[in-house]
């Protein structure tokens, strides 16, 4: 079953497809693919973060999503997105895609956030968008071993960088923390010669392999 049929079929109970949602998705699909070799100072990253009913991937469901765009190393308040999934999960997820475009997505703890999001895309939109994902959970200790040389919780990184946010455990509140960490990560990566999204992906992959083998 293709994504359109799924949407039309209304597996989640929707009787008619929302034409706006269809249009948004069509527009998104028409976007050119992101160039992973663009240097950080020209690249755009989208921080995404989720809020779920709990931490169990099998039982818990996605409640809301937040995103903050980083454009050429700058965080501006208007470049942000936050919405609850209900009552229109398909519309919310489509809007998230519209906001993020095809630029690399940055999460903290992909194991949970990426899985949660991809499952929601599959459920409500009927497809899983192919995007570059970066996980600061893995990248931060690689880039900043001088601060924390192990996989650490978001709270630990906040402390290490003396970063604050307006609300912890809120999808956007935490996204704001992750965005600030990403700003720092970009600068450190650049200083180490890791100057593009693709290079960051490589660093992350190497770290994961190292961890698997030790």
């Amino acid at each position: 079953m293709n994504w359109l049929a799924k949407l039309m079929g209304g597996r989640d109970g929707a009787t008619s497809p929302d034409t706006n949602v269809l249009q948004t998705i069509a527009d998104w699909k028409a976007l050119p693919a992101c160039d992973p070799n663009r240097p950080h100072f020209e690249a755009r990253y989208t921080i995404v973060n989720t809020e779920a009913s709990g931490l169990n991937l099998d039982h818990d469901t996605l409640l809301s999503v937040a995103a903050i765009g980083l454009n050429e190393g700058i965080l501006t308040p208007e470049n942000s997105f936050y919405a609850a999934l209900e009552p229109h999960p398909a519309a919310t997820l489509a809007e998230l895609l519209r906001f993020a475009g095809k630029e690399p997505l940055v999460v903290f703890n992909a194991g949970f956030n990426r899985s949660m999001l991809e499952r929601a895309f599959d459920t409500h939109l009927g497809f899983v968008p192919e995007l570059i994902w970066l996980d600061l959970f893995i990248l931060l200790p690689t880039l900043f071993p001088d601060r924390i040389n192990r996989n650490a919780r978001l709270a630990d990184w906040m402390e290490a960088f003396d970063i604050e946010t307006f609300q912890r455990h809120h999808a956007l509140g935490d996204a704001f923390v992750i965005a600030q960490l990403m700003l720092a990560a970009q600068a450190r990566a650049l200083a180490q010669g890791v100057s593009t999204p693709r290079a960051l992906v490589e660093v992350e992959r190497a770290r994961r392999q190292l961890q698997r083998h030790t």
């Binding site: 501006t76 308040p77 942000s80 946010t165 956007l172 700003l183 720092a184 600068a187 450190r188």
Partner: protein
């Protein structure tokens, strides 16, 4: 209503900003504007955030986290600090961004730092919408002015022999417990006490220790010995009543000025309740100084011919140099020069009066131009005139001839004392400027009624008059009449305003300054004059009676409801230009008209350059005000 993601992030920024001054006092709309536009960026340790090489500053930064060091670049250290580190809530570069020019400091992150940034356009808009923020930036720039003065002082300290500071409060100069006697004490007893304690000045005070009079050593001969006064008389019979007093919080400078003004050698120092704290003598103030006020003053007072006054006039220049070394600002310095030059001129006039019989003629000697404004620098030529009243049944022209003859002697002697003759013949010896009160009125009146270019030029010189010698009331009458006439003539004011706007501050669009053909800036013509001209118009319009530019601006500002900070910033700018003028006159060892008042901005240090630019911006602001007021 739902709260959007941008709202939440803006809220986070404004919560942060509210923890710091001046943002915590900022108007809510202005704070919201700032928080909406504040973008966050990261600067790794060791990275340059802003340097002079980056060109015109494009962003204004507020540190969110971390530490940024501001370091002076270039060969010389121009502020009191060579580098300064800044933490969360602090912002930069205020001077560069408000003046749209490159920063003079290099800003480097010394820790991993996050900074908010807004664009230069947003910064300007914020300044416009927020009086609080505007004030914050203005005060910051004012503090730079202060630093420059300190630096100037250091330069001159090296040139001057002494370091004694003229800003010391009198309380610190008074070393002895006050010595005084009661008014009923016998003269003999008082004299014995003076001899015993080796003091040159005895104070007579009441039971509350409030001074009633003084008796000084120099009084002994004329007042006691020669008349053969009975020494058993109470001292109150022979003392000088109502002695000159100063509060103990006044500075050595204030004391020196008072001594020069009143021609006394001792001043009584009192506390806030008027109780005697001690006595300061000229010797206390200038014991270390090569040329003392006493010497200059004594030289002036004792001169019996104009030749002897020439020496005093050279000493005045030398003293001015010492005073700059001691950190006296332009305002006090010009006042000081003015006070001594006044004394000199008065002495020349009274010497001339010994040869000219003007008995029975009610007259006053007028100063015009910078002397009239108390803004003399060290290379001012003379601008003067006479106002007089013709007694009934006397022949007008005959009297005028006598006055002119007298004036010629004064003008010549002033010239011999270093006040060059006026090239434009604006001198009292010009019969055209030796006018009766009625004639001056009709002269001024014709300029006001028909303000052609020559009339406007005349107004700019002659309307800054003050009485230097003779009957002050003649000057008061003329001033009152002038203010009334000019105030009611809007056309004249408008023409004056348009004339004042002919010269614009030499600020460049691309480069900092627009230079004359010789690569210099004329600090008089394109600097001080801009302030002086506007101040004159504002004074006429608001009826302010002072002839000094600073007083005119202050009084006009009160009447026009201009905020105090704003007028203070303008006055600071004016003083800075005056200070640069004085400095260039001093540093040119040869007294040379050509280079006086000229400055080559290339030779200024960075801080002076940026302050000069700010001073010109203040002039532009003042002109803009005039432009709006008269819709020019």
């Amino acid at each position: 209503m739902t709260v959007t993601a941008p709202d939440m992030l803006v809220g986070a920024s404004s919560d942060f900003l509210k923890r710091f001054s001046p943002f915590n006092r900022m108007e809510p709309e202005a704070l919201a504007f700032l928080a909406q536009r504040a973008a966050l960026a990261f600067h790794a340790r060791g990275n340059e955030i802003l340097t002079p090489e980056m060109g015109q500053a494009r962003h204004f930064y507020i540190i969110q986290r971390g530490k940024v060091q501001s370091r002076q670049t270039g060969a010389t250290v121009v502020t009191e600090y060579a580098s300064m580190s800044m933490g969360p809530g602090e912002c930069f570069p205020i001077g560069a961004i408000s003046a749209s020019r490159p920063s003079t400091n290099a800003y480097v992150a010394v820790e991993d730092s996050f900074c908010f940034q807004i664009t230069a356009d947003d910064f300007m808009q914020l300044m416009q919408m927020s009086p609080v923020f505007h004030l914050f930036c203005t005060q910051y720039i004012a503090s730079l002015l202060n630093q420059s003065r300190q630096q100037l002082q250091t330069t001159f300290s090296q040139r001057a022999a002494e370091q004694q500071t003229m800003t010391t409060p009198l309380a610190q100069l008074v070393k002895q417990e006050p010595v005084f006697v009661a008014p009923d004490c016998s003269t003999r007893e008082a004299l014995e006490k003076m001899a015993e304690l080796h003091i040159g000045c005895m104070v007579i005070a009441d039971a509350e220790q409030r001074p009633l009079g003084v008796l000084t050593q120099s009084d002994l001969l004329p007042r006691l010995l020669l008349p053969g006064v009975d020494l058993s008389l109470p001292i109150s019979e022979v003392m000088t009543a109502n002695p000159h007093e100063l509060l103990s919080t006044a500075s050595a400078y204030d004391a020196a000025l008072a001594m020069a003004t009143h021609g006394v050698r001792h001043l009584l120092v009192i506390d806030a309740d008027g109780r005697l704290q001690g006595v300061v003598s000229e010797r206390d103030l200038f014991s270390l100084q090569r040329i003392s006020l006493r010497q200059i003053r004594a030289g002036i007072e004792s001169a019996t011919e104009a030749k002897a006054l020439q020496r005093a006039s050279q000493d005045i220049r030398q003293l001015a140099l010492n005073l700059i070394a001691q950190g006296i600002g332009a305002e006090q310095l010009t006042q000081f020069i003015s006070a001594l030059n006044d004394a000199l001129t008065r002495r020349i006039i009274s010497l001339a009066l010994e040869h000219h019989d003007l008995y029975g003629i009610d007259f006053a000697w007028l100063s015009f131009g910078s002397e009239g404004r108390h803004e003399q620098t060290l290379s001012t030529d003379q601008d003067n005139g006479i106002i007089w009243v013709c007694p009934e049944l006397q022949e007008l022209e005959k009297l005028r001839v006598r006055l002119v003859k007298f004036a010629r002697e004064v003008n010549d002697n002033l010239a011999a004392c270093g006040f060059p003759l006026c090239k434009g013949n604006i001198m009292a010896s010009n019969p055209d400027l030796c006018l009766t009160l009625d004639e001056w009125r009709s002269r001024f009146g014709s300029w006001i009624r028909e303000p052609d270019p020559q009339a406007l030029l005349n107004a700019s010189i002659f309307f800054d008059f003050r009485v230097l010698y003779g009957n002050e009331r003649l000057g008061d009458h003329l001033r009152a009449w002038l203010n009334k006439s000019a105030k009611s003539n809007a056309t004249f004011q408008r023409m004056m305003a348009s004339n004042a706007l002919q010269v614009v501050p030499p600020l460049g669009r691309i480069r900092d300054f627009v230079l004359d053909d010789d690569g210099m800036i004329d600090l008089k013509k394109s600097g001080a004059r801009l302030f002086v001209d506007v101040a004159r118009i504002l004074a006429l319009r608001t009826g302010a009676e002072s002839s000094s530019t600073v007083q005119r601006l202050r009084r006009a500002a009160v009447k026009m409801g201009v905020p105090n900070e704003e007028v203070s910033a303008i006055i600071d700018g004016f003083h800075f230009i005056q200070l640069l003028r004085l400095r260039s006159q001093h540093l040119d060892t040869e007294h040379d008209d050509v280079t006086d008042n000229k400055v080559n901005p290339e030779t200024l240090n960075e801080l002076d350059r940026r302050i000069l630019k700010e001073a010109f911006r203040q002039a532009r602001k003042l002109q803009l005000r005039l432009k709006l007021d008269y819709q020019l």
